[in-house]
């Protein structure tokens, strides 16, 4: 059963709504733990041998694997189930959200109102003029209907309510009770590599519902903490959520490619699994913007998802790109993050790319039996 924490902004479930969420959580765990590993066995036992027989060599890359694997009935079955489970996941979260929409809106307004009256609390700045980038609007990321950015009513928070509960089910609870895993991972990395670094001003880019931002707020309670994102409804939710959890964060609707932070004004700039949701041209502009806002001696940290070590793992990790509206993610397979940081202005000898293995069960990994976060670190 899920350990998801029921904070004030979570949509409460009735009996059948909870049963639907529990079912899809368990079913996805079953797919990841018991069905997905079979795709690797099928590849080793029949797909790769058939390819070798035809070409007298193994597949050269994930695209060649793709041509053959997508014709395999086992892979087809797993894919059909994986795709459908993702659709059912959102349905199971949307129902209770719709049912309590008005009360959730009222709660978020009340929490925001309380914060406005206090200098000790966080803040929210929405920019109605901001142009949401095409990489957000071309397709609904992760199949969430309406994506992160669609407002269905004034001051809407629904996309955030849905996303918070949805991502917890997505990884079978692996993200933790406050969806804190990615934040925990990057904080642990910083503490291990640079225990003496004490940032005063932190910017979390592409923060969405601020689940990782809250982790940083708890780790560095004295720092001035900012969370930025292009999508308004998730930011409104992030603000209400952080206030209900008692962590002061300044959220603002901004594009990571060009923010309003003053040059050299930030100690630590972060992102958690954001880069693969952008685009090739945006990636360089984000690196340049990180470089611009950091003070000399400031640090940039980006956490990224694994892209696989061999052709079959690369192919499997790209499943999300073809089937879960992660349109840019597959191009990340061959992008050298360190080289991107150099293009952004960082000195080559101040850049590191590390791998970090979290303690996860195979039932929580979706596409591989081995999982390594990728961390891009660079000093200004």
């Amino acid at each position: 059963m899920s350990s998801f924490k029921r904070h004030a902004m979570v949509a409460a479930t009735n009996h059948d709504e909870q049963a639907r969420q529990d079912f899809v959580t368990a079913f996805r765990g079953h797919l990841s733990g018991r069905v997905m590993p079979g795709a690797y066995r099928v590849y080793q036992k029949r797909v790769e041998p058939a390819f070798v027989k035809a070409h007298a060599r193994p597949p050269a890359d994930e695209d060649e694997v793709r041509q053959w694997m997508t014709r395999d009935p086992y892979y087809q079955f797993w894919s059909a189930m994986q795709r459908r489970s993702q659709e059912i996941l959102w349905d199971a979260v949307i129902d209770p959200t719709e049912r309590q929409w008005a009360s959730l809106l009222a709660k978020s307004r009340k929490l925001a109102g309380k914060a406005r009256g206090s200098r000790k609390r966080g803040s929210l700045h929405i920019d109605p003029q901001l142009q949401v980038p095409r990489y957000h609007t071309a397709a609904d990321i992760h199949l969430q209907p309406g994506g992160y950015h669609t407002n269905f009513t004034a001051d809407d928070v629904a996309a955030g309510v849905i996303y918070d509960q949805g991502i917890n089910i997505y990884m079978n609870g692996a993200l933790g009770p406050e969806n804190n895993l990615t934040g925990d991972t990057l904080v642990a990395y910083l503490r291990e590599k640079h225990p003496d670094f004490k940032p005063q001003r932190i910017v979390d880019m592409g923060c969405a519902i601020g689940n990782s931002t809250v982790v940083w707020g708890r780790a560095f309670p004295k720092a001035e903490l900012h969370g930025i994102d292009v999508a308004a409804p998730v930011l409104r939710y992030a603000h209400a959520r952080a206030e209900s959890l008692g962590v002061p964060i300044h959220f603002s609707q901004q594009d990571a490619e060009h923010t309003n932070f003053k040059t050299g004004s930030v100690d630590l700039v972060l992102s958690h699994i954001m880069l693969h949701e952008t685009s090739r041209s945006a990636l360089v502009r984000i690196m340049k913007e990180c470089h611009r806002i950091l003070r000399p001696g400031g640090l940039m940290l980006h956490l990224e998802i694994p892209r696989g070590r061999d052709a079959i793992e690369k192919f499997m990790h790209n499943w999300e790109s073809y089937n879960n509206n992660e349109t840019f993610a597959r191009y990340m397979t061959h992008i050298d993050l360190a080289a991107e940081a150099v293009k952004g202005g960082f000195a080559a000898d101040k850049i590191r790319v590390d791998e970090f293995a979290p303690k996860l069960d195979v039932a929580q990994m979706n596409y591989a039996e081995h999982f390594f976060w990728k961390i891009l670190a660079a000093w200004r």
Partner: protein, 116 residues
Amino acid sequence: MGVSKGSNMNEMRDPPQRPKGHRPYYFDDPAIDQLHSAVLALTGELAVALDRIDSLERQLAARGVVPADAIDSYRPDAAASQARMQRYTALADRILKPFRDYRENLFERQQHAHKE
């Protein structure tokens, strides 16, 4: 649900039923994909129904209305068995209706062709 349609942002628009973007199909015949999708949704609803029965049995046991082992040890008498058999037949009849319709339609067409 109290959610009305409209472009006025003071109202609440229904979220879309489908995400924006291309929906991939995995089998040569999309009908097979659709069948897999329907079976998974049906399994989900079965899980919900089973949970509801489980909740009901536990509530009844906790209140001492129906003891915990009463369902497991229950055996239907002759009349109840008879009623169940009739229900199975009716259920099979309803489930197999599309196959029956298809067969009967085929048969009628053959007869029609024969007359000509």
